[in-house]
Subunit: 321 residues, 2 copies
């Protein structure tokens, strides 16, 4: 059994590794050679924690296992990340556990990679302005990953507390991209690609804000009741997702489906575009929207890449188990 | 993070350790301070394998985590056990994974311990004849664990292929107990305690076989459609279980409930007897039946004991994770 500690991940797994792993597993999901098992999520009644599992099996990559962990709101005060997770990989041929991998940074990388894959396959090739809605820790990962997918010339961003945009501004500067804090109206009028990455229970980005031709990646909604963008915007857009079942229940699409303005049959898998079974964007005026709900198979895919790289570089700890 | 490899378990965890851990967690379940999360079980479409998770949280013992693994029918040909499992324990205060424990032998020990706990709390004190139905690998664990709970004078056993009873006979000899291969009629007429541990889809032990005063531990039914004893026997008995929700859906009680001869409200938790909230056996003629379905919390309980003992004895492998 290989152990890949959390502290090793940053030096092992690049954004490109994450992109490749996530693109491949989305394709496998759409080809029906990979599927996610039901998600377990429990408020355990201790330390205000939410604990659970995301799991699945990719028959093409032979990735089997789960990510387990959750949200411990008191961790920050202890000098730990509130979100804690560990990925466990199993040998698909024997059922033996063959790897334990720190899952905190990997979760951030795979979530950013999903948005990046959607931009690579759905945004206009001539996209020049990147808009970010949100300024949390994950927003910086989204910015880095998405910025690489087109020849962006500048970044505009909105956050409820604009002063928190300093982190994003610093990353944009590092990437050599001019950065501006703007209103939602300005953001929608200027951005060719928008990533929303907030934890909200009501729509922030409205249909009227968004100009024709925009690609939007909604990355913050993964729970019943959460919402980032107006349902009318989802209804107007051509909608893609990682997993349709999650999209209509806990993803951004839940609201348009509930409003009756979007049918489940109208939602396509991003993997179908990757596989060439869906044309993706059909013209330059179309609004495309990716509902990134986050699936266990993404975690297995990046963790599997991490193990391979860790073994290659000699930093995997091997334990006779 | 501690790693306790499979090969260390045999020298670490005794039957008494397993008994204590299982008794304690059954009590915690009945006190509503411990609960199991939904079970995931998937036929993954590769290597004919069944893969999944059993998981839960015991707020009293602060045991949080899961057992993952499954059934790989081709393993035997590779020199491996068909049932493969690993237990992962998490720090309930932070969500960090703090132990990875080999789960194969622990599963056998915790299953045997459940039957032993039921015998300790429900069988007549003057029980003298122990009956075993089944002769598989797990049957030997049941025999060893249950034999310690009363002053048994002899063992009678039945198996569809009586020649396979040699393993059980050897264990009985080792325990200094006379052993006899018998018919089901003889077994029921003689045994004061019966453990059934077979994988069957139709009732083997019938109501008419069993004499008054017997305690029966049904340990082999953990799936919809499986059955060890006649539903009429379940209806006649005073019924106890580890977890009522599992008992009526995938346990031995599923059939009597489906037949309408047993109500869910008639089933008591064994933990309630341990806690003193249920009197248990009320007289010497009562037939008591324990439906042992197997819950994730048992796995966490014995794995936690294994980690504690491994640390104490210096065989836990500590990894900076």
């Amino acid at each position: 059994m290989y152990i890949v500690p959390e502290k090793e991940i940053a030096a092992l797994v690049t954004r490109q590794d994450s992109f490749d792993a996530v693109e491949k597993v989305f394709a496998s999901m759409a080809a029906k050679t990979a599927y996610n098992f039901p998600v377990i999520r429990e408020a355990i009644g201790h330390a205000d924690a939410l604990y659970g599992f995301k799991s699945g099996f990719d028959r093409q990559a032979l990735n089997l296992g789960l990510k387990s962990g959750g949200y411990w709101p008191g961790n920050m005060a202890k000098g730990l990340t509130n979100h804690q997770s560990t990925v466990f990989l199993f040998d698909a041929d024997t059922g033996k556990c063959n790897a334990v991998v720190g899952g905190n940074l990997l979760t951030a990388l795979r979530t950013a990679a999903a948005a990046a894959v959607s931009v690579a396959h759905l945004a206009r090739k001539d996209a020049r302005v990147l808009g970010i809605v949100g300024a949390g820790h994950q927003a910086t990962f989204q910015l880095r990953a998405v910025a690489e997918q087109r020849n962006f010339e500048r970044v505009v961003a909105w956050n409820r507390s604009p002063e928190k945009l300093a982190n994003l501004a610093a990353v944009a500067k590092e990437l050599g991209l001019p950065f501006q804090s703007v209103s939602l109206e300005e953001l929608g009028a200027q951005a060719d690609v928008i990533v929303t990455i907030i934890s909200s229970h009501e729509a922030v980005l409205k249909d009227i804000h968004v100009k024709p031709g925009t690609h939007i990646a909604c990355m913050g909604t993964d729970t019943k009741g959460k919402q980032e963008v107006e349902a009318a915007l989802v209804a107007r857009a051509t909608v893609f997702t990682d997993e349709i079942a999650q999209s209509v229940t806990i993803g951004e699409c839940q609201h348009a489906v509930a409003a009756g303005t979007l049918a489940q049959a109208d939602i396509a898998e991003l993997g179908a575009v990757i596989n060439g079974n869906h044309a993706g964007r059909s013209n330059d005026d179309e609004v495309t929207l990716f509902d990134g709900t986050g699936v266990g198979l993404q975690d297995l895919a990046v963790a599997s890449a991490a193990v391979e790289l860790a073994v290659l570089k000699g930093v995997a700890i091997e334990v006779a188990f």
